[in-house]
Symmetry: C4
Subunit: 207 residues, 4 copies
């Protein structure tokens, strides 16, 4: 494997998420995509790995159809959702998927609404292309299922419909977010999870 | 003591639990079981030890009847519950017992119900053998007592009745969980405690 | 850049704030002011920097009108608020601006009131010049806007009116606090954020 | 200063409390008492020190009347309460005083009751001499005041009346706890703060 600072940054982000309790019980998955000419390569965390100790050589290398380029582990069932996301957001170079207490609670609270709407917080400016707190971020909310073909189609539709969304929520499951680099994807993750916690605590306080 | 990576992993897990506030005030206990031929050995944390600094040489070595093989400390009163668990779950090789704010709150809330039922969360797939969020995990809930003979019998009965449960709750006391390795036991711990926190916060939010 | 222990302390404080989740998604900004004779110099974090990794050479050096003395980055739009603060509080040598879950919640709850009033907590004595828990701290609360000229004028007025305030809240945005040194500014930050959390949890508990 | 493992342990405990947010804004204070023949010496944190960086040479050495033995700092106003406690609990060798969100909330909630009563939690066994969860721990609750003479008298009375209490709460201020060693005092601190958080969250959940 050729050393790649984005792969190092992805692994550091995964370990940081673990330390915060955002990918418990080997949940979550993380990938980066490298593009050279017509060739796409995706490096993704394998199924069942403890994210607290992930390192670059643990990642699986797959092509844009999900076929393994090398074979050193089992791709996670959710790999197909990463492929869907990279197709729907061609500029994306990194995807982060986490299970947090607050995104689980908030997605449970709003389901079966088609999206969660958040506005009027300064931190929204942490999302790429957003320059004012008056921005309305609509995060599509999909019903959870173990049928990844169905989920993939719903995610494709949602990403087309919510063309400027910065994340996708799966109800009582977790968040997908992405960016043009690992740093941007992590910035989106930090902004969205901050907002989920604020909204969750606001609902709890009843204010 | 022969170096054993499972014993190292157990101590690391105990220290990690302490850092998260899950075994305050020298509470909690942790064990691994090694099987060679007809010989069982259990290595378990002694009574009253600060779990933030536990190391392999602190552990007590006992046989499957609880008799000390070496004598370097006082077995905890809860050692008998580890023995009960290893009998009822012969495949178990590690047991983790923690006192957390959320398992204390949730067990207090549901007592005297015979179990706490949790379903429809993706993180349930962190439990061994569970492959869908629609799984219903029923965690037996025992009334706390200082009579460990009574508690042992109730735990034996509960583990027989809830034959596929991944944990046992003692009301206003704590959680027992286990696995075929320290890593699996820790995965179960992370999944269950995540669920207890989500359910506790959901009750608090009234949603 | 001449080594300066206050600049080191500022960067350490910024990284500590990041670790606590108080400046997510590259939010927040931090500055120190050095005064030698008639010459003021302000060292401030640049726009868009991850505060978890800020180091002294990342800081921008500007004069008291906000003009860059050296050019190694883009001043944040909020730099103008630091200038306003240093004018209104000539004794200030450090300013900390953070976005926390509890200051966001509390400012949202009390807006559009002109201030948040907090009294009868011992920790108030952590604020400079306060020697009793009976002190009433009134923290001016400004409506958030992207018009920094307007915000600067409102902040100037608020700092004149609330002449002994130790912080300024921007609704659903964050806190500004300051001190005669980085250590004092950090002490004010710790005291105020502790109080915001206590008040936020008190509101949530309805007690 | 003669090296003393109890002084090292006290400083480590103070830094650990700071890391958990339990002594924000230079609040809190910590002491150990050494007894050799008829001679008592108390080593205590000075006023206004950041507890995140306290080291043995920062401590003040005073006699049992509070007179400085060496002069390297200003004794905190709360030093007199440590002296009161060491008189009322002659077996105590360490005292920890912390300001936490949950002890602040809980003391505010129950004031002006004379004590906070907690029972039926397993973690109560972390308190010295307690062997069952059915123990009723009554923690005296004093009204906060800046008059330390008054507070000292009230604390003396409370410690006589609640002769087996393991801590004293000052309303909207903080907790004092102690032990026959730093380790025991810290065990009491961990047990009591765990209980305050559980009780605080239980009140919030309304269950």
């Amino acid at each position: 494997m050729v050393p790649d600072p984005e792969i190092d940054a992805l692994c550091a982000t995964a370990r940081w998420c673990y330390a915060r309790g955002w990918v418990p019980a080997t949940s979550g998955n993380f990938s980066v995509r490298t593009v050279e000419g017509a060739s796409d390569r995706i490096f993704i965390t394998p199924s069942g790995l403890d994210k607290g100790i992930v390192k670059p050589t643990d990642l699986l290398e797959i092509d844009r159809e999900g076929q393994p380029v090398t074979s050193n582990g089992k791709p996670s069932a959710e790999t197909s959702l990463h492929l869907v996301l990279y197709r729907a957001r061609p500029e994306a170079r990194a995807i982060l998927h986490v299970h947090t207490v607050w995104n689980t609670l908030l997605s449970a609270h709003y389901a079966p609404a088609p999206h969660v709407s958040i506005t009027d917080y300064e931190i929204l400016k942490g999302l790429s292309g957003v320059s004012t707190h008056t921005h309305v971020e609509r995060i599509p909310l999909l019903e959870n299922t173990q049928d990844y073909l169905v989920l993939g189609r719903q995610m494709t539709d949602a990403l087309a419909h919510y063309f400027d969304a910065h994340g996708v929520l799966l109800s009582r499951h977790g968040l997908y977010t992405w960016g043009q680099s690992v740093a941007e994807a992590r910035r989106h993750l930090e902004a969205l999870e901050f907002l989920f916690e604020v909204e969750g605590r606001r609902l709890t306080a009843g204010c």
